[in-house]
Symmetry: C2
Subunit: 407 residues, 2 copies
């Protein structure tokens, strides 16, 4: 696997464009478009919130029923959630406008929105944006990067990644971009991720690869425990790498899954590490678990604990909060068997052995916890299963960003 520069335009045949449509933000781009020269197999995974934004409902239908997809239209600023029949109509209108501009079928256009809930989209501006973007589509790395910037809300960094693998004697590229947590006019932590590849693969296997992989990647991050109405991951494969189409779970499929996992894990970690107001990426590994499910429950309980997150902000080796969060997670284990370690670029230190604190150096612990990426490792000594989750610290700025009045 070879890491390369780029994002959604890294794979062959994928183009992007972006524009300042004035939907909500001033003086910055707030719309992006992804386009594939050839029709794509499309896979998607979506929020489990029963309050689903209109674009989520739209995309679920497209992914399920359309033979192929060829474009994605994305806006930042308004989520198009809790907008009733009118909002769903605007998804259809957006797809129609893009279909006309790009000369593709309406049912090949996916849409995604992020931003404030309950407001209707200004369709005149959205359609003007589509008109402006269509002739500007390009396949350069810069076109991809500009799109990654245009979909940001309170993100502080654009998030993209790409890799290449060898499949059936052909070079296959997988690239992606995403946006994470927060809004200038805060309303919702909304996660959107777009991954493109020139791999040839059946639609069923593409969906299966994505559905399996999100369990270890996007579903293992949390910024504030609030599951958005808009969460969307879209994966498009246009087959232009020229490999023999993957139709079974052979070695080629596994190679692709590894590349996809690298892309998704990298994007997921970028989101967690750029959570609203955060100063540190907080990684939690639970090892020695009885089952994967147990390790997932324990690790997610730790990364979502407000008290633990505040302690990470304070560079405080407050292991009691971690043990406590494990204890109320619902998973069964023996607290008096737990070992706990903190690790970062500054070193690794055991804090607890068999549920009781060691005589560790608080100074060394603080040093380890003062790095921008810190890891807690909890060993429950019950078996061989493990899971890793990613979150961030809870800071003054998180409160500031989310308490600010919307208008």
């Amino acid at each position: 696997m070879k890491m390369i520069e780029g994002g959604v335009t890294a794979a062959m045949g994928f183009q992007a464009a972006s524009t300042a449509a004035g939907i909500k933000y001033k003086n910055r781009k707030d719309m992006a478009m992804i386009y594939s020269e050839k029709p794509c197999m499309a896979a998607g995974t979506f929020t489990t919130n029963i309050v689903k934004a209109a674009p989520v409902k739209w995309d679920q239908q497209i992914v399920k029923h359309s033979a192929f997809a060829q474009a994605v239209v994305i806006n930042a600023g308004i989520a198009n959630a809790c907008t009733g029949a009118e909002g769903l109509g605007y998804c259809s209108d957006t797809a129609k406008a893009a279909a006309a501009a790009l000369k593709v079928p309406e049912e090949a256009v996916l849409v995604a929105s992020t931003g404030v809930i309950g407001m209707q989209l200004p369709m005149d501006k959205l359609c003007a944006g589509i008109q402006a973007m269509a002739p500007q589509l390009g396949g350069s790395l810069e076109d991809g990067t500009e799109a990654a910037k245009a979909i940001m809300t309170t993100d502080t960094k654009k998030k993209e990644v790409a890799v290449q693998v060898e499949i059936g004697g052909k070079t296959v590229t997988v690239g992606g971009m995403c946006k994470g947590s927060g809004m200038i006019h805060p309303n919702m932590c909304t996660m959107l991720a777009f991954v493109t590849t020139d791999l040839a693969i059946s639609k069923e296997l593409l969906q299966e690869a994505l559905s399996e992989d999100i369990k270890d990647t996007y579903n293992m991050i949390s910024v504030d425990g609030d599951t958005s109405t808009n969460d969307t991951v879209l994966l498009l494969a246009n087959g232009m790498a020229g490999n023999a189409e993957i139709t079974e779970k052979n070695e080629d499929y596994q190679t692709f899954c590894k590349a996809l996992n690298y892309i998704n894990e990298t994007l997921a970690k970028k989101m967690a590490g750029d959570g609203e107001g955060c100063t540190a990426l907080f990684e939690v590994k639970v090892i020695g678990a009885e089952s994967k499910a147990q390790a997932v429950t324990l690790s997610k309980s730790i990364i979502t604990s407000s008290l633990t997150k505040a302690a990470i902000f304070g560079h405080d080796a407050n292991w009691g909060r971690i043990l406590c969060a494990m204890g109320y997670s619902g998973a069964q284990f023996d607290p008096e068997q737990v070992d706990l370690f903190f690790e970062s670029a500054a070193g690794k230190l055991q804090i607890i052995k068999d549920g009781v604190a060691l005589d560790y150096s608080e100074e060394e612990a603080t040093k380890i916890l003062s790095e921008p990426e810190v890891t807690a490792i909890a060993d429950v000594k019950m078996g061989d299963a493990a899971a890793t989750a990613w979150g961030c610290d809870l800071t003054f700025d998180y409160v500031k960003i989310n308490a600010d009045y919307r208008s």
Copy 2:
């Protein structure tokens, strides 16, 4: 039901004492003792966290196996959690010391701790505290109030309440005190509540009354979603009111349950309204629910949503976050049927009708949300069940309190 002054010493025969034992704090009281002149039926409910502090394990045994209880020894500063066999031994040592000082059986002494996890109790100071308190026991309101102050950690207000009801021609008093969320050297949000009554009632019914009532009171509050290792509610009944012992669920039992509910709900709301760093008590009523369980799930999901809590801090009528938190709660409902209202001393305002925002005045909404006690009412229009939950806002001070280094 008649509201009266006082707390744990309001009921006949209950005495309290408190002292500065120097366990963790300087220049303030940090130990309290409750004593009943007559043996009491004891009931208790405890944390569901599988990491249970030593005093929780001790009290569970006493409540289950002892014929009666007669004293409670409480310390603030050290939680005696994650302290292994040594910590459990200290509970026994504490009970022994109190039993000797008060001339009651060791197995009639309950213990409770709140504070930092993982540290061992300084038993010399604890025993000296017991020696100092035993001769000072008194039944005045002030003795109760001083005890309520001594068990505080980062609480900003002492929390006590008492009522009287007529049962079997006798005046029965129920009183209680509690401490809420936070530590000066923060480690755990620990909830302790102690309720005393001079009612005569069987042990079985006393436990049932408590176990039922906590579902609607203590179990419906949240400050930060972190379930402590030490949560304890103890209810002592010494029978000194002289009523005929309640042994069945008759009208007298219901009268007592109403009084108990008033005490528990009041104490629970005092804890939520004095959550770490908070500026407002946030009450959430879910009405029109299909079942009580559904209403509980929805209301608790709203009060634990970090984004909603931050919006309450900002006096922002950010209804999208409330609908979102309902959506990811796991409860089934139709988002497009939901009505939502905000209410406080400043008025009541409908924000959403059938899932879509009304053209309400943001100014009026902000005015309503600027009160120290604010209520959100969500009607899901599916039936007649309802539930109320209490939380607080998420503030800069919450982060400050919990990010500060422990030592």
